[in-house]
């Protein structure tokens, strides 16, 4: 949440002549790459401009959070624009990811790295039609030799969308973006502006109230732990861990941001980090990387 000017080593946020202006620095910090500071709530009076001129690193979740911010501001009929990155590859990537209009750029030609540009799913009934588009793109652009990766990505899409529309209950819907960096490296970003995992879980399981947000998100990755009623819920997130934990997907990982918490899970390291982060994340945002061993491409610059 934000209402006043702030600054930190990664971003500044000030009142400008046409509304609020946020500038992101160009460093590789997670707060920039994954857009942890991008405002997702409370449209600013007089509009919002996000200055990405110095940004040299952009993960899919940054692109998706920018698209969500644009959508939230558009719904509130508040002006929103993005000053494009100077870095040509990052600028082109963000345009292909669905942000060309917000940056004042022409719509790019379809590319074979974006499986699904930033898309807003407004109703639960749209989950399957959008998923079918993603499935078609996977079949067309990812080789059959990576079927395990395609299945893991679809599993993540299915379970995260179900969670977002079943538990998230946000008037803004669910935002999703999928891309590939090569034949065996896929990324899915999904977010919503709903209640968020820590609050949702604590409301159903009061014994978790004393645990911090990061810890509660980590709990949600355990089988059978759910904020929903009924004994047959709570397997969606664990199913994703199972899917990306296949031996041939050794470089996969799952990141989740929600409220004041963040979790990073790397199946092959058998490691689950649930921690508190400085930036509050409205709703729940997840990035799923599905990759076979040795196929994670260098992360700079993104978008090629």
């Amino acid at each position: 949440m934000w209402s006043n000017s702030h600054s930190d080593p990664f971003s500044t946020f000030d009142r400008g002549p046409g509304g609020m202006v946020m500038r992101l620095s160009g460093g590789p910090s997670p707060r920039i790459r994954w857009g942890e500071r991008v405002p997702l709530h409370s449209p600013a009076l007089g509009g919002l401009a996000i200055d990405l001129a110095e940004v040299k690193f952009a993960e899919p979740t940054l692109a998706l959070r920018l698209a969500a911010s644009a959508s939230v501001h558009r719904c509130a009929e508040v002006p929103f624009l993005i000053a494009a990155p100077r870095d040509e590859s990052v600028r082109a990537y963000l345009a292909r990811a669905g942000l060309a209009r917000e940056m004042g750029l022409p719509e790019p030609s379809p590319s074979d790295d974006i499986l699904l540009p930033a898309t807003r799913i407004q109703e639960c009934s749209e989950v399957e039609p959008v998923g079918e588009r993603l499935q078609e793109a996977l079949e067309a652009l990812v080789p059959a030799s990576f079927d395990a990766g395609k299945e893991a990505l679809m599993c993540a899409y299915s379970e995260l969308c179900d969670n977002a529309c079943t538990h998230g209950e946000s008037e803004h819907g669910t935002f999703v973006l999928a891309q590939r960096y090569g034949p065996q490296h896929l990324v899915l970003a999904i977010g919503d502006l709903g209640k968020g995992i820590p609050d949702h879980l604590a409301s159903a399981q009061p014994q978790l109230e004393e645990e911090h947000s990061g810890s509660r998100i980590a709990r949600a990755l355990e089988p059978g732990i759910s904020g929903a009623e009924g004994t047959e819920r709570g397997d969606g997130l664990p199913d994703i861990l199972t899917a990306i934990g296949e031996p041939q997907l050794a470089d996969s990982q799952l990141r989740i941001w929600s409220g004041e918490g963040r979790v990073i899970h790397r199946p092959t390291r058998n490691r689950l980090e649930g921690r508190l982060v400085a930036a509050y994340t409205p709703g729940t945002w997840a990035e799923v990387v599905v990759a076979s061993s040795g196929n994670i491409r260098p992360s700079r610059p993104r978008g090629i």
Partner: protein, 103 residues
């Protein structure tokens, strides 16, 4: 009666969808009441199913049939990925655990 999933889509993800489809299936079964006691759910052409969907739709169907004294529904023409997902989801679920019939 044969219930063809592909006529309704190629992927099934959400808890919401499972309830809509369950209602549709129950409606068709009611229309066909007395003519056929066997139910086949045909997954030909289905690329993906989600765990929540499986537990609510398949599990719900089997529970309804068990309570009505009818034989369990048969699941046919599943791709290996869909079959794996259904088996895993039903193994964990309470409903219809012992009633999965895979053709």
């Amino acid at each position: 009666m044969r219930f063809e999933m592909a006529k309704r889509g190629s992927m099934f993800s959400t808890y919401d969808r499972s309830h809509l489809l369950l209602a549709e299936l129950e409606g068709e079964l009611a229309s066909a009441a007395g003519t056929d006691k066997e139910l086949i759910i045909d997954f030909e052409g289905v690329h993906h199913v989600g765990g929540s969907f499986v537990k609510a739709f398949i599990g719900g169907t089997q529970t309804n049939r068990r309570e009505a004294g009818l034989p369990a529904a048969k699941l046919e023409n599943m791709s290996p990925a869909v079959k794996k997902k259904i088996e895993a989801a039903l193994r964990r679920g309470e409903s219809a655990r012992s009633e999965l019939q895979v053709a």
